[in-house]
Amino acid sequence: MSELKVFIADDEEPARQRLKELLADFAGELPTRIVGEARNGIEVIENLPASGARVLLLDIEMPGMGGLEAARHLARLPGAPAVVFVTAHDEHAVEAFELNALDYLLKPVRAARLAAALRKASAAGPPAAERLERASGAREYFSVTERTRIVLVPVKEVVYLKAELKYVTLRTRTGEHLIEEPLVALEREFADRFVRIHRNCLVARAAIRRFDRTGGSDEEPHWNVILEGVAGGLPVSRRQWPVVKELVAERHE
């Protein structure tokens, strides 16, 4: 039997150590090889794709980026690994898991349970993206999959999102990225952070500087939103203008 390539992610060194010991314990029946380790979600994103891991043992509560979000980014990767979530006792996480029927192990993990989960997960393959989405809440990062690499773009750096044909353009102060997610879903996920100004455009509320009126004085007024760090304005549709205006009024109160 060939070795199962396993990647371990946990912010606590003793926890990673424990998992390694358990894997070694049942190596006779289920041979495994550890191909990488990470202390947070960002390290997972950086190091997992090149590791060739088939299964990821993923802690939920990690600094910087937690396990749920990391799994969401990985789900888009070609040849994404199967995921076994591991959590101490986070009521919210456990609840989210049960609602979305994701498999998880509770710490401290038992060898027999770990072996069973590895077998089951490697047979089932990577978790379904939409289950992860429902379980994890709003992300801190957008991810752009570039062949076998994932580039993370912090959500807070994004000034606006614009739908163009199949893609959505993420505009940051320093550049642009393309992601393949529907704008409607993004609007729902980041309702706290972005507001729709047009059928095809969401802008970061925090980046709004002012509104410029366009069009002649005898026409019905049109408005452009001016965003911090971006030259030129973006048009606000007539339909969205009342919503946007309301929001800005709220902010100035």
Binding site: P14, A15, P63
Partner: protein
């Protein structure tokens, strides 16, 4: 007494239309009322050893009876002297005395209910500090990882955990010595250090800590736990917590500081812990203890101030 005087004042205000007359009549009424009230005080005080063990309602009955007898006696005496305690004869005086007594007894019962030690105790127990399950399971997991590599450290860690949980499950209604509470903080810190390794740094400033000071148990540990949970765990870099405890005159100050991170949804629940401690401090020290928290220059700081008391460890 104050209660009855107020009642008398109320009655007079009700009876008299003008303010000037009101005052005059109140003085007159008070002069007549006071002997009755003083007599009641003496009688009830003398009788209190017999009254106290009685069932509540029988006690009330006897107090009522005493008051009626005293009022009747006073009425008869005053009548002999040519003045009247209340107009309208003996039955009216008796009825008023009974009414005033009943009202006051009712009021006292209400007060007792609100401030009863039993209730305070129940609240204390409910408020007893709770360690996060998250911490327990992660710690057990860390100990398991030590069992093979470093059995001695595993043993020490389990001993620390045992001490921590013993304190957590102990009676929360007593004082502990600051030295013991500090020892507990160090045990807790040792466990977290094992879990978090390099990421956690604690700087202890305890030179001015009065080891004999008394405080409620498990007041400082939840604050340190908060500092680790909110200040260290969400950070990828090394984070430093400062623990400073000192005596300033007749006060004891404890200050715990940690790097501040905006609360993620999963990491809320800090308010609860602080409210819990604040309430316990109030039950132990009333208004004499304070707990304040603030965010300053990227650091979160919580400060407790309690009166410096030393001596034997006893129930609160």
């Amino acid at each position: 007494m104050i209660g009855t005087n107020l009642l008398a004042l109320g009655a007079v205000i009700y009876a008299e239309p003008g303010w000037a007359q009101t005052l005059e009549r109140y003085t007159r009424a008070a002069a007549m009322l006071e002997p009755v009230l003083l007599a009641s005080l003496v009688v009830l005080y003398v009788a209190s050893p017999w009254l106290a063990p009685m069932p509540y309602w029988r006690g009330c009955g006897i107090v009522l009876l005493v008051e009626i007898v005293l009022a009747a006696l006073a009425h008869v005496l005053y009548a002999k002297g040519g003045s009247a305690l209340v107009s309208g004869g003996l039955p009216r005086a008796v009825a008023l005395a009974a009414l005033a007594t009943a009202v006051l007894l009712g009021y006292f019962r209400l007060m007792v209910r609100a401030y009863s030690p039993a209730l305070a105790e129940a609240r204390l127990q409910a408020l007893q500090a709770r360690i996060r399950p998250h911490f327990l399971f992660n710690s057990l997991n860390a100990v398991l990882s030590l069992v093979r590599r470093d059995p001695q450290r595993a043993e020490r860690t389990l001993e620390d955990l045992a001490d921590l949980f013993r304190e957590l499950m102990a009676d929360g209604r007593r004082f502990v010595r600051l030295a013991d509470e500090i020892a507990l903080l160090e045990r807790y810190a040792a466990i977290e250090q094992l879990r978090l390794g390099e990421r956690l740094r604690i700087s202890w400033e305890l030179d001015g800590a009065p080891s004999d000071a008394l405080l409620p148990p498990m007041v400082l540990q939840p604050l340190l736990e908060n500092a680790v949970y909110h200040g260290v765990e969400p950070a990828t870099e090394v984070s430093e917590i400062t623990v400073r405890i000192e005596r300033r005159g007749d006060r004891v100050l404890a200050r715990i500081e940690n790097p501040y991170h905006k609360l993620e949804p999963a990491h809320r629940g800090n308010r609860m812990a602080l409210e819990n401690i604040r309430e316990r401090l109030r039950l132990f020290f009333d208004a004499e203890a304070t707990l304040v928290s603030k965010i300053e220059a990227g650091r979160y700081r919580v400060e407790i101030e309690i009166p410096y008391k030393s001596g034997g460890v006893h129930a609160a």
